[in-house]
Subunit: 345 residues, 4 copies
C-alpha cells in the first residue's frame, strides 16, 4: 500500500510499502480517512529521533487518525462494518502488570503508532484491536475524530487534576495541546482559564473559544492577572503545556495554597524546581504521559456539544500533498494550530 | 423591623418583630434584596415542623437571600459597603471538631436561617459573618444571587460525585433541586444528563437547558434510555433528587459497574436497599447534607456563563405579597420551578 | 483425577472426574497443597445454589487454594517450576470494559472457581493464568497461603475504606471474614478495632490478635463503647461483615460525621436504610465484591509479619476426609474459624 | 518566668522574661513538662534565621512540648485541669480562607512557636487554645508526648501518600524525621520500608524498629535493593526526608509506574527535576508543610502500641542544662536521634 514513509531524518517519501497485517478475532480493519500532523511526527522528520526513540528503519508517520471499519474479527461485538471510528494509537501488552492495574499507558511494552519501530497510519488502512477503536457520534466528522488523539492528552490532564466545579486554572502554552487542555478543563468543570503564551495570534484565536483570559507574558504579568481574577488567592490548578523550562520552574507562583500542578509539556532537560515553594503551598503535582480511558469521554463531550475542536483545524492537505504538509508544519505560522491530511476514499 | 413571621403551623403574618443584632468585628450588615422560597419554608408553614425541627416560637422564614452591604465590621477586609452579595445561611461553631476539619456543614451546633429556633431573612436587613458572605459578579443579578443557595446543593452533590469529564449522569427528580443538580453536573464535567420525573412540564422546561434527555417514567423506561445512551454499560452517576422512596430503591439498576450514587433528596422513611445489588457493581454511595465551600464556585460558574439559572425563576412576588407567595408555593403548578420575593429597597 | 464433587444439593462424593486443561503460553500448572473451606462452598452443599448461581451439573468445590508450580507456559517470566504459590480464583475476560478499566472483579463474564458452572480446586492439580498466580514469601506456609483468598476480601474492604493512619473502625461480625477484615484494617492503618458479635468464643479469640475491643452486642451496647473510645465523636469507619439485615440497618449510628461505611457481608434481602441518617453525617458508603489487585499486598503484609492468620486456622482435614470436613463446617462450633483440607503431595 | 531565650545568633541565656498571657474562654493553661529539641531550634541558634524568618528580638525557643493542664477557659469542654497533654505549636487565623477549608497549616497568618517573632515554650507554662491541645493516653509518657510534634510531620506525610495496605516505601534520610516517617508509614499500611542514609549508626538503630531494610547509600545501590524487594516493579512510595538536593533529584528512579513521591525534607536551593522522568511513570508528587489534623491520630497509634517512639529519645537534659543541650545538639553524634529537655515540676 502507498504510505508516507520517513526514510530517515529529513527524508520523506510517498511510496509503496509492504505491511502484513492479519485480522485477529478481537481486531477490526479500518480504512483511514483523516490523519492529523503532530509535533512529534514533525520532530522525527526534522531530528530523526525523540529522546531514546531513534528512527533506524523507514517508518510510516501519523498517529492522530479516524476512518471507517471495513472488516471485523470473529469476536468483535460492539463495532460493525461501516462504523465511523477513531483509534487509540497505543496497544499495551495485555499481560503486563501496568495493564492489569488499568494504567496501560504506563506499560513499558506499549506499541505506539509512529514511535520507532512501530509504523504509523498515513496509509490507506490499518488493522487495530477493537478495544482501542471508538465509534464517532453521528454529529462528529472525520476531521474532528482525528482531533480526539491530541484532545485525549488534555482530557487526561483534566482527569489527573481532579477538577472541582468552579476551579480557576492557568494553562501555560497556547499550542494545540495547550488550547485543547483549556477546552478539556472548561468542559471538565473549570469556570475560567488563564492562558499564557508569547504568540499573540494563538492567544486571540483561543480567547474566542470560551471563558479564556489570554495573557501574553511578553507584555503582561501572569501573577497580576491571577491575583485580580482570584482575589489574591491564586489559581486552583496550573497546567504546564509549554514544555518550556522557565515556565515549568514558575508553576508554583500563581498557585493557591493546596492547589494542583499538572505537567503536560515535556521539558527536554531537568528543570530547577523550588521544593520549598511547593511545600509552603502543599502543591499536589501530577504528571501526564499520553492518556488512558479517555477516548469515549472525549467523544461524548464532542457529541453533546460541550467541546468544539473545529476552530483549531486550521489547515487541511490532500494525501498526495503529505510531504508539503510536513514542510508546512516544520515552519508553522503563528496563525495555525493543527494541520490534517485527508486520504482518498 | 417588618418581617414575614410564621407564628405557628398554617399562620403567617407580615408584622414588626424585634431582632437585636450587633455587628461584630468579622461581621457585615446587609440590606436584603431578594429571597427565594424553598420547599422547606413551605413545609414549616404547612406542617409546623421538619423531622426533629419543630416551630415552637414565632420564626421569620426565608434563607435563599441576596442583598447589599451597608456596614462592615472592623476586621473585615475582603468586602466593602455597597457590595452586592449572597449569603450562606448556616453559621457553624468555629471551635467544633467538624468545623476545624473543614466539614462545617456537619457541625451539629450549626445555626441555620429559618430552621427553628433561628430566624430567617424575609425582613429588611441582617447581620452576618463576612466569611459566609460572597460578592456577586457584576453580571449576576440579585435574583440570580438568591438562587445560589439551592444551586449550592446541586454543586455540593456534583463535588461529592467527583465527576470525570465526559461522565453520563442520571438525575432523578425534576424539581428545583433536581434541575439545579443537572446544571451543576453539566458544568462540572458531565457530557449528558438523563433527567426523570412524572411532570411533563418540568421535563420540557429542563430539556431546553443543555444536553438533558428527559424521561417521563410514567411513559418510558429509564433503563432502556440509559442502555441506549451508554451502549448497555450504564450511567457513571445517579443523583437521587426526588426524595421518593421508590426512586431511591432503584438507583443501582441504571448504574454502571464502579459507578457512583449521590443521595440528594431526603426520603422521609427508611428505604429498602438491596446491598447485594450495590455490591455486585461496587457502587460508591455519597450522601449530601446542605453544602460547604461551594458558594464562590457557584458564583464563578454563573459569572463565566457556564450556569444560567434565570429560566428557573418562574415567579416573582413583592414583599407585601409574601403570604400570597407562600400560598402559591403550597400549591405550585407544574409549570413553576422557583418563586422569589423582592424586598423594597 | 480424584476430586471432591458436589453432585447436587446435599450430595458430595470423592471420585474421579475428567477435567481437560491445556497449558497456554501465559498459564502455569499447579499441584494443589491446601484448600480452605469457605461459607459459600458449604452453602452450595447445603442449599444447591447461591442467589442466581444454581448447581445444575456436578461441580468440584473449593477456591481458597495454595500449591506448587509444576509446569509453566512459554511466555511466563515471573514464575518458575517449584515456586510455592497461591491463586486468585476469578479469571476475567481480558477484552471486557471492566477489565480494561482495572476493575476486573466487576466483569460480568468472570469465571470463578466453584461458582457454577466453573469447577473448583479440591483436586490434585489445576492450570491457571500466571497473572493470577502469586509466589508465597519463604516464611509463609501453604496453610497461610490458602488463607490469602478470604484475607483478600478484608484487604479489599480496607482499600475501599481509604483508611487514614489512626482511624478507629467498627467491624460488625466476628466470623472469618470479619476477623480478617479487622486484621487487614489494623495492618492498613487503624489504631483500634471495635469488633461485634454474639458468639463470645469468637470475640475472645479475636481480642488476642491486636488492639481489638470485643463487644458482645447481646450484653453490651456498641454505641456506648464507641462513644467512650472516641470521645463521643464516633467511629471513622464501619465495616459491616455480618450480612445480618439488622446490623446492616444500624451502620450509621456509631459513625462519625464524614465517616465511611463498607458493606462486606451480603444480606440476603433488601435492608431498610435511613438515607436521612446517612445524609446528616454525609456518610460515604463503599460496597465490596470479592477483590482486585490485593493478593501481592496481602502476601507482602504476611511476609513482613504485619498480618498473622495462623490463629484463625482452627481445623485441618486430610483430603480423604473432605466430606467429613464439609459436614463439620455445616455445623461449625463457635470455637472454629477456618477449616482447611490438605491434599496428598 | 524563667525561659531559654535566644538573644541573638549564637547567644542563648536562661533568664527571666515577661510573657503576658491571658486565658480566653476557649484556652487552657499548661505547665510544661518536656520539650524536644528540633533541628530548627538549633538552626535559629547557630544561624539566627531560617529563610525569611529572622530572629530580630530575643525569642524563647522550643516547640515540641508536653505538659499538664492547670486552668481551663469558661467554654472548654473536652479537657480538664490535671489532664496530661501535648500541643500543636501553630495557631492559625480562624477567619482565614485556608483555615475555613481545613488546610489551616497553609494559612500564611499562622502563629507558630519559636518561629520569629513568636515565643516558644522552653519555659514553665503557656496559654494555648484548647482546640490545639490533646490529651495523652494513660500509657503515653510526657517524653513520648513531646515526640508527637515531629511524629506529626511523618504522619502527615503518610496521610498525603494515601498508602494502600501492603505498599513498599523508600524513605530517604534516617534523621529523626526520616525514622518517624518510616514508623508512621508502617503503622499506616506499608509492609516494608527501605531506609537510606550514610550514617551507619542511625540505620542500625532504625532497622530494629520494624520491617525496615537499611541501605547505606555510600556502600550499596538503592535501586538494586528496590528491584530485589519488588521484583523489578519499583517502590509504591518514595518519602524524601533528607532535604539533600542530590537525593531529591533522584526520587523517580526507584519509583514504580503510577507511584507517589512525598517531599518532606526542605532542600535549601532549587533542585534539578527531570519532569520527563516523572511523566513516563506518571508520578504523583505530594509536598508536606508541617501537618494538620494528625495529633489525635498519632496519639491513638501510640496509645494502641502501633507506634513506639521511645527508642528514638536518645538524650535527656534538665532544664537548667538547656544551653548545654543545645550545644550538644549543634554537634550531635551519629548515635543520637532526639534530645529532650525536662522542666522542673
Amino acid at each position: 500500500m502507498e504510505a508516507l514513509v520517513l526514510e530517515k531524518k529529513d527524508v520523506l517519501t510517498l511510496r509503496d510499502i509492504e505491511l502484513k497485517e492479519k485480522l485477529g478475532p478481537h481486531d477490526v480493519r479500518i480504512t483511514i480517512h483523516t490523519v492529523g500532523v503532530c509535533g512529534s511526527d514533525v520532530h522525527y522528520y526534522t531530528h530523526g529521533a525523540i529522546g531514546p526513540f531513534v528512527v533506524r528503519e523507514p517508518m510510516v508517520l501519523g498517529h492522530e487518525a479516524s476512518g471507517i471499519i471495513t472488516e471485523i474479527g470473529a469476536e468483535v461485538k460492539h463495532l460493525k462494518v461501516g462504523d465511523r471510528v477513531c483509534m487509540e494509537p497505543g496497544i499495551p501488552d495485555p499481560n503486563s502488570r501496568a495493564t492489569q492495574l488499568g494504567i496501560y499507558n504506563l506499560d513499558p511494552a506499549v506499541r505506539f503508532w509512529a514511535t520507532p519501530p512501530i509504523h504509523g497510519v498515513l496509509r490507506p488502512s490499518v488493522v487495530h484491536p477493537a478495544a482501542f477503536t471508538f465509534k464517532l457520534p453521528d454529529n462528529v466528522s472525520y476531521a474532528e475524530g482525528a482531533m480526539v488523539e491530541p484532545l485525549a492528552v488534555g482530557m487526561h490532564a483534566a482527569n489527573k487534576a481532579q477538577i472541582k466545579p468552579g476551579d480557576v486554572a492557568v494553562v501555560m502554552g497556547a499550542g494545540a495541546i495547550g488550547i485543547l487542555t483549556a477546552l478539556a478543563a472548561l468542559a471538565g468543570g473549570c469556570s475560567q482559564i488563564i492562558l499564557t503564551d508569547v504568540q499573540q495570534e494563538k492567544l486571540e484565536l483561543a480567547a474566542k473559544l470560551g471563558p479564556i483570559r489570554p495573557v501574553n507574558v511578553a507584555k503582561e504579568k501572569l501573577l497580576d492577572v491571577v491575583n485580580e481574577l482570584t482575589g489574591n488567592w491564586g489559581a486552583d490548578i496550573v497546567f504546564e503545556c509549554s514544555g518550556n523550562e522557565r515556565a515549568a520552574s514558575s508553576v508554583f507562583q500563581p498557585l493557591r495554597p493546596g492547589g494542583v500542578v499538572v505537567f503536560v509539556g515535556i521539558p527536554l532537560s531537568p528543570v530547577p524546581i523550588s521544593i520549598a515553594e511547593a511545600q509552603v503551598k502543599e502543591a499536589r503535582i501530577e504528571n501526564v504521559f499520553r492518556y488512558a480511558h479517555v477516548y469515549p469521554r472525549a467523544l461524548a463531550l464532542m457529541g453533546s456539544g460541550k467541546i468544539d475542536v473545529k476552530p483549531l483545524i486550521t489547515d487541511t492537505f490532500a494525501f498526495k500533498d503529505s510531504i508539503k504538509a510536513f514542510e508546512y508544519c516544520a515552519h508553522m505560522p503563528a496563525t495555525s494550530v493543527k494541520a490534517q491530511i485527508e486520504l482518498p476514499q
